[in-house]
């Protein structure tokens, strides 16, 4: 088909490393490779590189440097927050509140905790993916030790009312963790202003390297380690530090948060043009997620009568990289738990497409998707018995 062209519309799954970021990392592979725990002068460069990166992460989210702990990625940070708070505070209570639309790193960590004596409340969300603050308040018991609610959803892009949640948590004296893996670099974050006690982030979502992330832990929070061992990260996260990775995280977060408004403006303009074009050209399409409170680069739509995987395969043949649901959950045949939680019937959940724009997205990419996508949807609809029934009967099958 259209051949060689590559249009990457899956920045929410992962991003490339920016050249400036890679440049910053390079000296730490072969030259300044010293173990930061060592006493000799040679390792000072690694040590100070880590501390500089820590400052940058802290600055980006309004924290203090000594509240930032580097991890091996977003999932590790999420697991640490949940299990670490649970195990360290089980004398106070065994109840945790989260939502039905969290990433699997949260949901499956919760399942593990359920098997080990903890009770979890999974909050509902409305049709836009928003939690209800009322429901949250009602869910709190005197055994609640943690509220974990994601900053922004990875599939539908909905941004939760984090500051309001933080106020509730603070008032009730409960730790508040937010999975901000999708939010960092896309939304302004101030952990102090928002009363966040713990926050997870991952470098590869904002043009940093894979395999490195961080957990912000507010001073004074009582938390057990997830990875026990050596005294690294002020005795809280063992393991020889991934120096180039940490340096890359620092550089990437600095770049991503330094000019967030004008950066977002550009992305939102393109995103809206793409979305409007899709809605105009492709009938029987539904936008998933909140119409306004959503991540700048995120589009999530359901095309009725067709199925997501076959849509992705055809898009791929035209060089368009996209996803249906979360990248992590492909390989599973169940429709996304997020789309079910916002009330989509299975059949419509199955026909969902996520296009996520990023820094490399150009106006001509938008033109190209708008040219290719409607044809592909039509082609699949022409094969679909559901569409046939709809055309013949003028109605859809009720599921």
């Amino acid at each position: 088909m259209e051949g060689k062209r590559l249009v990457y519309m899956d920045h929410a799954a992962t991003t490339y490393v920016k050249p400036e970021v890679l440049d910053a990392m390079m000296p730490y592979f072969t030259e300044n490779f010293g173990n930061p725990s060592s006493i000799y002068t040679f390792s000072r460069k690694s040590k100070s590189a880590i501390e500089e990166a820590r400052e940058k992460v802290a600055k980006a989210i309004g924290a203090k440097a000594d509240e930032i702990y580097f991890t091996g990625g977003g999932s590790e940070a999420d697991n640490w927050a949940l299990k670490g708070i649970a195990f360290a505070n089980k004398d106070k209570g065994n109840h945790i509140i989260t939502t039905k639309i969290e990433h699997h790193a949260i949901l499956h960590a919760c399942e593990f905790l359920e098997k080990n004596g903890f009770e979890i409340t999974y909050l509902n969300v409305d049709e836009n993916g928003m939690i209800s603050l009322d429901e949250l308040e009602r869910a709190i018991t005197d055994k609640t030790i943690l509220i974990s609610i994601m900053f922004a959803n990875n599939e539908i892009g909905t941004i939760e009312p984090i500051k309001e949640i933080g106020e509730i948590a603070k008032k009730r004296n409960i730790y508040f963790h937010t999975d901000a893996v999708q939010a960092v670099g896309n939304v302004k974050i101030d952990v102090k202003d928002m009363n966040i006690d713990l926050l997870s982030l991952a470098a590869h979502k904002f043009y940093g390297p894979k395999g490195v992330g961080a957990l912000y832990i507010k001073k004074g929070v009582k938390i057990e380690n997830l990875i026990h061992g050596g005294g690294q990260e002020r005795k809280r996260r063992a393991g020889t530090e991934n120096i180039p990775g940490i340096v890359g995280l620092g550089k990437a977060i600095e770049l991503a948060t330094s000019d967030i408004d004008s950066h977002n403006e550009r992305i939102i303009k393109m995103r809206d043009r793409l979305l409007e074009g899709i809605m105009e050209k492709i009938p029987h399409t539904k936008l998933n997620g909140h119409p306004e409170k959503r991540l700048p680069g995120n589009i999530n739509v359901s095309f009725r009568f067709i199925e997501g995987e076959s849509l992705l395969l055809l898009l791929d043949q035209s060089g368009i990289c996209a996803s249906t649901g979360s990248a992590c959950s492909s390989g599973s045949l169940d429709p996304s738990h997020v789309l079910l939680a916002i009330g989509l019937p299975h059949e419509i959940a199955h026909g969902s497409l996520r296009l996520s724009l990023g820094d490399a997205t150009k106006e001509e990419d938008i033109d190209y998707v708008l040219e290719v996508l409607p044809k592909i949807v039509q082609r699949l609809r022409d094969m679909s018995p559901l569409y046939e029934t709809f055309k013949h009967k003028g109605e859809t099958i009720n599921v």
């Binding site: 199925e307 076959s310 395969l313 299975h346 094969m383 018995p385 599921v399």
Partner: protein, 138 residues
């Protein structure tokens, strides 16, 4: 993930469409599972003269429909009845294990269309087996 054969049949599916006044029609699956398959048969003298399909489903489901229709075209009703999902998957150079049920749908849809044809023509429907769908739902 998919073999070249699967991708070929997915990209250029054979026999897509409907047959007006078909002699037999079979529709199986349901949209909850993410797949529906509908098969139309034109039968002449116990021979499948023409066959068309429509499928709502993944790449494997579309490719299975395409391959299955190719495999029964020109065959007798009995031959078509004996086409197994394994044969469809093999003809596609294999399917990923999680996608085997997509080929089951093809076998099932053909069976349903054949029995629809037989019933319409006053013949005893063949005894069909129980289909176990290994779709797991949360």
């Amino acid at each position: 993930m998919y073999s070249d054969k699967v991708m070929d049949h997915f990209t250029n599916p054979r026999n897509v469409g409907e047959i007006e006044n078909a002699d037999g029609v079979g529709e199986v699956g349901n949209p909850t599972c993410g797949d529906i398959m509908k098969i139309y048969l034109k039968v002449d003298n116990n021979i499948i003269k023409d066959v068309k399909f429509k499928t709502f489903g993944c790449g494997a489901a579309i490719a299975s429909s395409s391959m299955a229709t190719e495999l029964i075209k020109g065959k007798t009703i009995e031959e078509a009845w004996n086409l197994t999902n394994k044969a469809v998957a093999e003809a596609l150079d294999g399917l990923p294990p999680v996608k085997m049920h997509c080929s089951v749908l093809a076998e099932e849809a053909i069976h349903k269309a054949i029995n629809d044809y037989r019933t319409k023509n006053g013949l005893e429907p063949f005894a069909d087996k129980e289909y176990v769908h290994d779709h797991h739902h949360e």
